[in-house]
């Protein structure tokens, strides 16, 4: 595994690669392979983003998307964990829900938008619905899998120490399944982020999806590419900073990965 390389050199490698991509992009634009209205140059994108930021259009939209995502995600994670726990503990619940959830997962998040609009009209409720439907199933399945793959001696040890019923779920099953649950939450976050932007594309007057849509309406390729980059950036930062750190800690503590934090 590439884990052995120190973090700093990995980050440097990534930055170098990013720079290379920018140079390639600039090169493709310079030789004029594609017409200027469909492919902007890196500089044009940067200028457009700066304009959007200066006009006060960018920040409120970033905020709107992130807040929607955070609220929708909390709702989705709560539902996903509860249903996943039920699936992990009850064969009946698992038989009923697993195939349904696997089926729902095959739908891309944009496919939830039309039905969300029909069900909830033009309010933010439709966006929350899309977030939940895009991300909940993945989190439920990860939780259920985590629980059904708990090493049996954890449960046996807990039972022979006098633990049963609800305490067995909350004090043993859930924490024992945590590594798998965190992986599910990470995946759920990414899928939910897809959901927000997809929903905003079609219905909204604010948000990253709305700015994408507006950019296309105005034939403003620089705005479209710029907002795509912002969307990627936010998703990546949250994944790398928040979840990756948490996931790493858990993997070390659960004994799945070596502890590199000490000498």
């Amino acid at each position: 595994m590439p884990e052995a390389r120190p973090l700093r050199s990995r980050n440097l490698a990534f930055l170098g690669f990013l720079l290379l991509l920018l140079v390639l992009w600039q090169a493709v634009w310079s030789v004029g392979l594609l017409p200027g209205y469909s492919l902007p140059s890196p500089a044009q994108v940067a200028v457009r983003l700066a304009e959007l930021a200066r006009d006060g259009a960018l920040w409120p939209s970033v905020q709107a998307s992130v807040v929607r995502m955070a609220l929708g995600f909390v709702l989705s994670a709560a539902l996903g964990l509860a249903l996943g726990l039920a699936m992990g503990l009850s064969t009946l619940a698992d038989s009923c829900l697993r195939s349904l959830f696997l089926g729902l997962q095959t739908l891309p998040s944009a496919a939830w938008v039309p039905i969300a609009l029909l069900l909830f009209g033009l309010g933010d409720a439709a966006i929350y619905f899309v977030i939940v439907m895009s991300s909940m199933a993945a989190m439920a399945i990860a939780t259920a899998d985590g629980i059904s793959h708990i090493p049996p001696h954890y449960l046996r040890a807990a039972r022979s120490l006098g633990t049963s019923g609800v305490a067995l779920s909350t004090r043993v099953a859930l924490p024992a399944a945590l590594p798998s649950i965190v992986t599910g939450i990470k995946l759920g976050w990414t899928l939910g982020w897809h959901g927000v932007v997809s929903a905003e594309l079609i219905k909204s007057s604010i948000g990253l999806g709305f700015l994408l849509h507006a950019g296309r309406e105005l034939n403003d390729a620089a705005q479209v590419v710029g907002i795509m980059l912002v969307t990627i950036f936010i998703g990546l930062v949250l994944d790398r900073v928040l979840f990756a750190w948490f996931e790493r800690r858990i993997r070390v503590r659960w004994g799945f990965a070596p502890d590199t934090s000490r000498g």
Binding site: P151, Y154, A157, R159, S160, L161, P175
Partner: protein, 271 residues
């Protein structure tokens, strides 16, 4: 405050009786007779070691006493009451420590004390520390499982099992994955712990020297389905040294009894 005082009245060690116990595992494709019929009486405070060919059903026997599995026939009783499931009166120690990685060592050891509803968090902590001292792990109460060596993990598992003052201790090859030096230290510590706490102990192993070093009585099991091949009472003085020639001699004797048993043809794992 001593651990005994904190954990409430000292519970007497249990008497474990198995009468005509059999266990048959039925899968869609086959039915396997894993055990019995087997009759065994373990006295209060006795240290009984079960040895047998690999895959013979030693672990199954332990699981029946622990209440993780139910007997197909016959009865398992603890102090006359039939075993109806796992319970805090019978603590189990596994080959892998089964410590919870999400808790630190102190919270692991205190885990089983939560059933004592009248114990406060401070009392639970005091008891946990007392037992950590007993297994020579003082100073590691805030460590996490991944920071301990294999031997320290099994010590912590021992402390966790003993802290709620179970009446019997069930050990499933607890030292099987440890290196020789660590094992030898733990034999001494386990003997000392047993002398102090007198918990009735059922200990499964395939290591004959380990059996000779620890047991009041060695029960040699036949290959599957496991029944009792022979019983050897051990009256060597304690504490016993792993390298005591009398221990070696007894180990040889146990081995001879084991060799008389045909090894199972499938060479399978302990069922």
């Amino acid at each position: 405050m001593t651990a005994a005082a904190a954990a409430g009245s000292a519970a007497a060690p249990a008497r474990i009786t198995l009468s005509g116990v059999t266990k048959r595992f039925i899968t869609p494709r086959a039915s396997v007779d894993a055990l019995g019929p087997l009759t065994l009486d373990v006295a209060e405070g006795e240290f009984v070691v079960l040895v047998g060919p690999s895959g013979c059903g030693k672990t199954t026997l332990l699981n029946l006493v622990a209440g993780f599995e139910t007997a197909t026939d016959g009865e398992v009783r603890v102090d006359g009451a039939p075993v109806a499931g796992p319970g805090p009166d019978r603590a189990m120690i596994f080959q892998e420590s089964a410590l919870f990685p999400w808790l630190n060592i102190e919270d692991n050891v205190a885990f089983g004390l939560r059933q004592h509803a009248r114990m406060s968090a401070t009392e639970r902590r005091a008891v946990a520390l007392e037992y950590l001292r007993l297994v020579h792990l003082e100073g590691f109460e805030h460590a996490f499982v991944h920071e301990l060596s294999g031997g320290m993990k099994q010590r912590a598992a021992l402390a966790r099992a003993l802290a709620p003052r179970p009446r019997a201790l069930l050990c499933d090859e607890p030292f099987g994955s440890l290196d020789a030096l660590t094992r030898e230290r733990l034999y001494a510590e386990l003997q000392e712990l047993h002398a102090r706490t007198r918990r009735t102990t059922l200990f499964v192993t395939h290591n004959t020297r380990e059996a000779a070093c620890l047991a009041d009585r060695v029960v040699v099991l036949t290959s599957r389905p496991a029944t009792i091949a022979s019983v050897l009472a051990v009256d060597l003085p304690r504490p016993r040294n792993f390298y005591d020639p009398r221990v070696s001699e007894l180990a040889g004797e146990i081995l001879a009894h084991l060799r008389a048993e045909p090894t199972p043809s499938n060479g399978g794992r302990d069922a």
